[in-house]
């Protein structure tokens, strides 16, 4: 019993002295990055653009934009509550998003057009390699690598059809 009083503190010092805990950005082989350019066309009146985010869905077709996000089946960039993706009138912007590796079948720019943050959303642009808006192009993310060229065109006047079930 007395030995415990000497051994345990030494073990504690060894364990705690070696590990530093969280780091600014964990260098991890379990994440990958995709990046690209977003271009904006036909901005609408200010009152109709409450918010705008890039959303990467893990399943297609999704049920609803925010519900998928809140259930952890989609990633929102930048996170809700922080400054939105772009300011009204911007022509274009570059982005870079680090996510878990895998296939993201639907990457979309979503506009919040009404006051209800959980319901008033619609897609205004999606990653698509062809002009067939019905089926978006998937984004493949590889662990430890950056997939660039995931460019998205946003046209507020001609948004893609919502694919939600």
């Amino acid at each position: 019993m007395r030995r415990l009083a000497y051994v345990l503190p030494i073990l504690v010092l060894i364990v705690t002295g070696c590990d530093k805990g969280l780091e600014p950005k964990q260098v991890s082989a379990t994440t990958g990055t995709f990046a690209g350019l977003i271009t904006f066309h036909n901005w609408q009146v200010a009152d109709s653009v409450y918010d705008m985010r890039l959303i990467a869905f893990r399943v297609f077709p999704p049920t609803n934009i925010l519900e998928e996000v809140l259930q952890g089946r989609a990633i929102v960039y930048p996170p809700l509550g922080s400054t939105q993706l772009a300011r009204r009138g911007d022509d274009s912007m570059v982005y870079e998003l680090t996510v878990a590796p895998g296939t993201y079948p639907y990457v979309v720019i979503a506009q919040q057009y009404g006051p209800n943050i959980l319901a008033d959303w619609r897609p205004v642009g999606q990653y698509d390699l062809d002009t067939n808006y019905t089926i978006p192009s998937p984004v493949q993310v590889t662990a430890g690598a950056v997939t660039s060229g995931i460019d998205i065109s946003v046209d507020f006047a001609h948004p893609p059809p919502p694919p939600f079930e």
Partner: protein, 720 residues
């Protein structure tokens, strides 16, 4: 009734022949006074605690041979018999106590609403006394509670053995008492640790498990009873000052160019006695720059405690406390690369609060075996914040009264019974204008079935009504058993039921948060819990104490915030959704080494927290807790170390990942604190140097909130 009347008559008849025993308790080896020694008059319910000079006094003791027991942890218990003559002259009794390594029964607790030995209590109770709080330079109560085995904090919310997760400040499944009176805010029903000046705390008792059978609402997962210091017999002024700074962040990316961040504090208290009136006046100020951007705080506190001995049998104690605080608001980080910086929109957020409470307590010793006390409390809590461009404010008042009696009518029975009433009023732009209240009655009998077997039976009835919510009533029973098969062994078993009435915040909140409409829920029902525990405490060879407890709790109707669909729109609302089961084991050991000059404490808790609605793990509950403490003394010097391990939180609110960058970034907690100090009793001066988080380990208690880096603090205390 006949026994009661006989007792009163006996007490009154004894008045004319009653005497006083007074004296001083000191350390047998050094001769230094021993504060905090429990002095009890054997065979009665009466007792006192020595003041900071080791002085005690018990008045109006019937003439004859009287036995007094002196006990305090770390010293050998001593019983002395004196003869009181009926000439009215006081008897002086000076006692020296010899230090010993370990002795269990000397810890006195109030888990049963009366002072008794820890070994007589059928539930797990952890105690932290003023000296431990002072050594660690805990600035607030939650700082101190972080070191108690089986307890962990998620920001400012306390979790005892997996009872509580994180409810964003709305409601608490742990009840906090100040000198036995509940102190929860009227609007949000939460604990507010900052309200109580830590310098006036004598000890903190944490009762683990449901205990609504004595304490009512919110005693679902446990009870924290904060006992303030008794008023001393001698005039004294104490000054305590501390100053320190936060070390630079571990990584260059986290350096937000805030420069060196300081923290400092000053507390001055004065104790005096004027014949029958004793008083303590206390004022303190704490300034903390904060190690994060927009996380500063300035806190001012005033405290006054008066005790007036109306007669030899009656005393009136009143306490007034006020706190004013202004601080920044750091909800969560911008992201892990900017872990010490909040999102841009939160940069200007501020919170200002003023809280005060008044408490009164009237004690009446009817006879040696019958004590009555009445308590009253008024707690006002006012705050206003500016979040982004919006301002919110709230003012709430809680008033409580209680009459409690403790009566030992015959040998082998101690009855504790009483009645309580409460009234709460809320006026807040978030919660509206609300009024609520309740009444309660309780009865408990501690039966000594045998010399070695004590059984506790009790129940409490509560009726509670909050504005437009349906009123509800609760009957909460408890059963406890303590069996002491031999010297140094105590086996305990208990069952208790707990409940928590919804707070105004949970039932009536109406606001927008991050663009989400939060709507009220006027059909909320109380949460319920059933707790079972079996435990054994064993002293080993006079130098070690081992305590093992198995616990099991079932929770129903747990209130959680969630998203609901209303008229095809998703909204936020508090609902009774979760059923949960928490099981586990807690092992504690205390070792006295080198004839008690070094004390080693360790507590390990394993918790299996299951969400029975989805069969997942409960949110914000760690499975493993390990707390280790080592402290030693050599002459006037002392040193110590504390270590906390908390396993990685397995589950958080998934919704947070949509709002907080890098919300999933969390790790197990390994924190080590070191301290050393010197006690120069002759001067008198005490100096303590603390290094917290000495290995600069980076972790979060709450998602998006990096805990403090290595922090250096020097504390100096003197008495005038």
């Amino acid at each position: 009734m006949k026994t009661f009347i006989t007792g009163v008559l006996l007490a009154l008849s004894l008045t004319a022949h009653a005497g006083t025993i007074r004296g001083r308790v000191s350390h047998a080896a050094t001769g230094e006074p021993l504060p905090g020694v429990n002095v009890t008059l054997r065979g009665t319910l009466r007792g006192v605690v020595t003041d900071e000079h080791g002085i005690f006094q018990i008045v109006n003791i019937p003439a004859g041979d009287r036995a007094l027991t002196f006990s305090i942890i770390g010293f050998e218990r001593q019983t002395r018999t004196v003869t009181l003559l009926d000439d009215g002259n006081p008897v002086q009794l000076d006692v020296s106590l010899t230090p010993v390594a370990i002795q269990t029964p000397d810890v006195i607790v109030t888990a049963n609403k009366r002072e008794q030995s820890l070994q007589e209590v059928p539930v797990s109770v952890a105690v932290m006394d003023a000296s431990r709080i002072s050594l660690r330079n805990s600035v607030t109560l939650d700082d101190a509670i972080r070191y108690i085995p089986g307890v962990n904090m998620t920001e400012f919310q306390v979790n005892i053995r997996g009872s509580s997760g994180y409810s964003r400040g709305a409601g608490s499944r742990v009840l906090m008492l100040v000198d036995g009176i509940p102190l929860l805010t009227g609007d949000t029903g939460e604990l507010n640790f900052e309200t109580i000046p830590i310098g006036q705390v004598e000890r903190i008792e944490v009762v683990k498990g449901a205990n609504s059978a004595l304490y009512g609402s919110s005693a679902l997962g446990g009870v924290i009873n904060v006992l303030t210091r008794p008023i001393g017999e001698l005039s004294e002024t104490k000054v305590r000052a501390f100053g320190g700074f936060y070390d630079s962040p571990s990584y260059r990316q986290w350096d937000w160019k805030g420069g060196t961040r300081f923290l400092d504090g000053l507390a001055v208290s004065h104790t005096d006695r004027f014949d029958k009136l004793g008083l303590v006046v206390h004022g303190s100020r704490v300034a903390d720059d904060g190690y994060r951007q927009n996380d500063f705080r300035r806190r001012y506190n005033g405290f006054l405690k008066l005790k007036y001995d109306l007669t030899a049998y009656n005393s009136l104690t009143t306490t007034f406390n006020i706190l004013h605080q202004r601080r920044g608001s750091f909800l969560y980080w911008k992201d892990l690369r900017n872990a010490l910086v909040p999102p841009d929109v939160q940069q200007g957020d501020r919170v200002q609060s003023t809280r005060f409470f008044w408490a009164g307590q009237y004690n009446h010793v009817v006879s040696q075996d019958f004590i009555v006390n009445g308590k009253a409390l008024w707690f006002r809590n006012r705050w206003e914040d500016t979040i982004d461009t919006l301002s919110n404010n709230s003012r709430s008042d809680v008033m409580r009264t209680e009459v409690q009696s403790t009566w030992a009518p015959v040998q082998g029975h101690v009855l504790t019974f009483g009645a309580e009433g409460s009234l709460e009023r809320v006026d807040a732009d978030l919660f509206g204008r609300r009024t609520g209240g309740g009444v309660a009655m309780y009865l408990q009998d501690e039966l000594a079935l045998h010399e070695r077997i004590k059984v506790t039976l009790g129940a409490r009835y509560d009726f509670h009504d909050l504005d437009s919510l349906s009123s509800n009533s609760q009957l909460n029973p408890k059963i406890g058993l303590v069996y002491t098969p031999g010297e140094g062994t105590a086996i305990r078993a208990s069952f208790g039921r707990g409940f928590r009435a919804p707070s105004s915040a949970e039932a009536f909140i109406t606001t927008y948060a991050g663009g989400i409409e939060i709507i009220p829920n006027p059909s909320l029902r109380p949460e319920r819990s059933y707790s079972y525990e079996i435990g054994v405490a064993q002293t080993v060879g006079g130098f070690a104490l081992v305590d093992v407890a198995l616990f099991h709790s079932d929770y129903d109707n747990l209130i959680e915030p969630l998203f609901v669909t209303v008229q095809s729109q998703l909204k936020g609302q508090f609902n009774n959704v979760t059923r949960a089961r928490v099981q586990g084991i807690e092992i504690g050991t205390k070792l006295g080494l080198f004839e008690g000059k070094m004390i080693f404490d360790a507590g390990y808790t394993y918790v299996n927290p299951t969400d029975r609605t989805d069969n997942g793990v409960l949110k914000y509950r760690p499975r493993h807790l390990l707390y280790v403490s080592l402290m030693g003394r050599a002459g006037v010097f002392h040193a110590g170390a504390d270590f906390r391990y908390i396993s990685r939180i397995e589950r958080i609110d998934e919704e947070f990942t949509a709002f907080v960058n890098d919300a999933e970034e969390r790790v197990p907690v390994y924190v080590t604190d070191l301290r050393c100090g010197v006690d120069l009793h002759g001067v008198p001066l005490t100096a303590i140097f603390n290094i917290r988080n000495v290995f600069q380990y980076n972790y979060v208690e709450l998602i998006g909130n990096l805990a403090p880096p290595r922090t250096y603090v020097l504390t100096i205390e003197t008495r005038l």
